[in-house]
């Protein structure tokens, strides 16, 4: 057990990969698969909290994989990455519990568990790695596993498989192009600095910048990273794949995609711009702010017109990620704190809304909100938790979303970005509008017969489906009423992001074993 504490970063990546291969071998025993994957996911959640506590008390951890010294690959756990790992493990644990009753048995036992484990491994790996080429590798792992999970079938055939394939094709082609762009950027960085270690690149680029010999193509590389992470996070000109993929995926996978996977883009932006391109960032600050504003506007306006409940939530994700990027674009401690608080609150609320939408669709027997109605009588639980999620997304007071929006607007006004805040505020009202239009259509009005539509078979709400939703709903109110620990953590993280020297020191001054 002594060894375990010192090896947490690699355990958090290696265990899911090991589980993936084990689950393939166990596909004839669905019972064992179920127990094993849920318990391992729970253990990973505990271990990730342990890692966060270690980093909180003991500073940044640099973990060498193998004994290759400076030629080796390194995993770094600072507050940002370990916090993101906690978020991933938590959401993935709840999504896994949800999917036990939601996903079709055949697809669950054959391919679902291994791919889900690989997705978790890819997410944890991309958060924890300190090597920019490994970031690319883990991006590919999570891209492929999420593509294969999108085409997994849920019970009752909610989405036609031809729709899933069309959406996955768009997702895969766009993300392969962005992977190619990322490889070009990584290769150019390697050719410029002769290293792939992010801390080392940062030191060398700062030295070149101080000596006045920074090559011009570093700015082009930085712009390429904006494109890559913008594509992952689905910000404005690159968001066209998201409203197809997130609604057609099964609900627990939608929750993972919207809750955690698009945050990988925000994480990458924070990591690359505040660590590697710390001296070149100032050129791209207005670019990020304008893109964020365009994302907010386009996402909110598109969401208003939607009739499909999951499509509405997907466009809402586009709009909300814009707010996170707005906070990143401010680039101050308070702005980054607000962005991180927003990121966590959106992850929790949007995961919950997607999980709830699965229950709503199964209850109503249709995805079209215009055909629903009166669900406040026929499904009171679903309407209550949807109200909680909608309040958090719209930013109403007793929920976490209010704290996040308040902090973001306060940070923007304090920095003097009045125009940006005005636009963000107007479209926050749009958020309120489309969320409560959905409430109105689905839950109030004339009560419709559930079996009337019969687009597919319904299987009702089971405890396994209700439990994750309840946990996430309680989290929303917990972050709204008692937000101080989250804000304190986010502020410490923002301070650490803006001062990369401890990170560099932790990585660079290691004595080789």
């Amino acid at each position: 057990m002594i060894a375990l504490e010192n090896h947490l970063p690699i355990i958090l990546i290696a265990t899911p990969i090991l589980m993936a291969s084990l689950m393939v071998l166990l596909r004839k025993q669905p019972g064992i698969q179920k127990v094993l994957s849920v318990s391992v996911s729970f253990i990973l959640a505990i271990l990730s909290v342990l890692l966060l506590l270690q980093v909180w008390s003991g500073g940044i951890q640099a973990y060498e994989v193998g004994e290759w010294g400076k030629y080796g690959i390194i995993l770094v756990a600072d507050l940002l990455s370990s916090g993101m790992v906690v978020l991933t493990s938590f959401v993935s644990f709840l999504a896994l519990i949800y999917s036990l009753d939601y996903i079709e048995e055949r697809s669950l036992s054959a391919s679902y568990y291994p791919l889900f484990s690989l997705l978790v491994a890819g997410l944890n790996g991309s958060f924890l790695t300190g090597d920019i080429f490994n970031l690319f590798v883990f991006f590919e792992i999570l891209l492929l596993s999420s593509c294969a999970l999108v085409v997994a079938n849920e019970k009752g055939g909610v989405t036609k498989s031809s729709d899933k394939m069309e959406a996955t094709f768009k997702y895969l082609v766009l993300n392969m192009v962005s992977s190619i762009v990322m490889l070009i950027a990584v290769a150019s960085l390697y050719a410029t600095t002769g290293t792939l270690n992010m801390a080392d690149i940062s030191v060398k680029l700062s030295a070149m910048s101080a000596a006045g010999t920074l090559p011009w193509h570093v700015f082009a590389i930085a712009l390429m990273f904006v494109v890559v992470f913008g594509n992952k996070a689905a910000i404005f000109p690159l968001h066209y794949w998201l409203p197809d993929v997130h609604p057609t995926a099964p609900s627990p996978i939608s929750a993972m995609l919207s809750g955690v996977l698009i945050k990988v883009g925000a994480y990458g932006m924070l990591r690359v711009f505040f660590l590697i391109f710390i001296d070149t960032l100032y050129i791209f600050k207005p670019v990020i702010i304008y893109l964020a504003l365009a994302t907010i506007v386009v996402g909110a306006i598109s969401a208003v017109a939607q009739t499909d409940v999951k499509r509405l939530l997907a466009y809402s994700s586009v709009s909300q990620i814009g707010y996170v990027f707005l906070g990143i674009g401010f680039g101050s401690v308070y702005g980054l704190t607000a962005a991180l608080v927003y990121l966590v609150n959106h992850a929790i609320a949007k995961s919950m809304l997607f999980l709830t939408s699965g229950g709503i669709i199964h209850h109503a027997g249709t995805r079209d909100m215009r055909k629903m109605g009166g669900m406040v009588d026929s499904a009171p639980f679903m309407s209550l938790v949807f109200l909680a999620g909608a309040m958090s997304i719209a930013g109403l007071p007793p929920t976490g979303g209010f704290i996040a929006k308040f902090q973001l607007f306060d940070a923007g006004i304090g920095e003097g970005y009045y125009f940006a805040i005005a636009i963000a505020l107007i479209f926050a009202i749009f958020t309120l509008f489309y969320m409560f239009r959905a409430m109105l259509l689905m839950f109030w009005g004339e009560k419709r017969d559930v079996a009337e539509h019969g687009e597919y078979s319904s299987h009702g709400t089971s405890p396994m489906i209700a439990l994750p939703i309840v946990v996430l709903a309680l989290m929303i109110f917990a972050f709204g009423i008692y937000a101080e620990p989250l804000i304190a953590l986010a502020e410490a993280t923002a301070n650490q992001i803006l001062d990369p020297q401890p990170y560099i020191d932790a990585v660079m001054t290691r004595v080789v074993r």
């Binding site: 290759w68 590798v137 069309e166 030191v203």
Partner: protein
């Protein structure tokens, strides 16, 4: 001269790849992605071709940044603890071995994604009965 030819090849491959990605046929899009990923592989290899300079050995070349800062890892390379790629001060014409490892990884990844997307294209053909992207318009971005 050699690297000019290499750069020209990479640029032409990128051009062909981009052209094919913008076609209407799914199969051509996939071929375009394959060509583009090979262009990237060539680009990565080309970053490791120097005239007698090995980037991961800091005291023989690199690009000068390591000498400028003096910041290197505090390792014990001289004691032979690590596998030394080259001894210090030893000058040879050498291609960086690290880029070959990177390219191998990139090739394996592009193999996996290409296999997935080919199967996906086959299933799309089964479902829709066509490989024309204009007919795949049931979802509207």
């Amino acid at each position: 001269m050699n690297s000019t030819l290499l750069s020209l090849t990479i640029a032409i491959l990128f051009g062909i790849g981009t052209f094919l990605i913008l076609r209407r046929d799914i199969v051509r899009v996939i071929i375009g992605l394959g060509i583009m990923s090979h262009a990237v592989n060539l680009l990565i290899v080309s970053t490791g071709v120097f005239e007698g300079k090995v980037p991961i050995i800091t005291d023989d070349g690199g690009h000068g940044a390591a000498e400028a800062t003096g910041t290197v890892f505090t390792d014990t390379l001289s004691q032979g603890v690590l596998a030394p790629v080259l001894e210090a001060g030893h000058h040879v014409d050498f291609v960086d071995p690290l880029v070959q490892a990177l390219v191998l990884t990139a090739i394996v990844i592009s193999l996996a994604t290409t296999a997935f997307i080919l199967i996906l294209a086959y299933r799309i053909y089964e479902e829709y009965g066509t490989t024309d992207i204009r007919e795949l318009r049931r979802l509207w971005g």
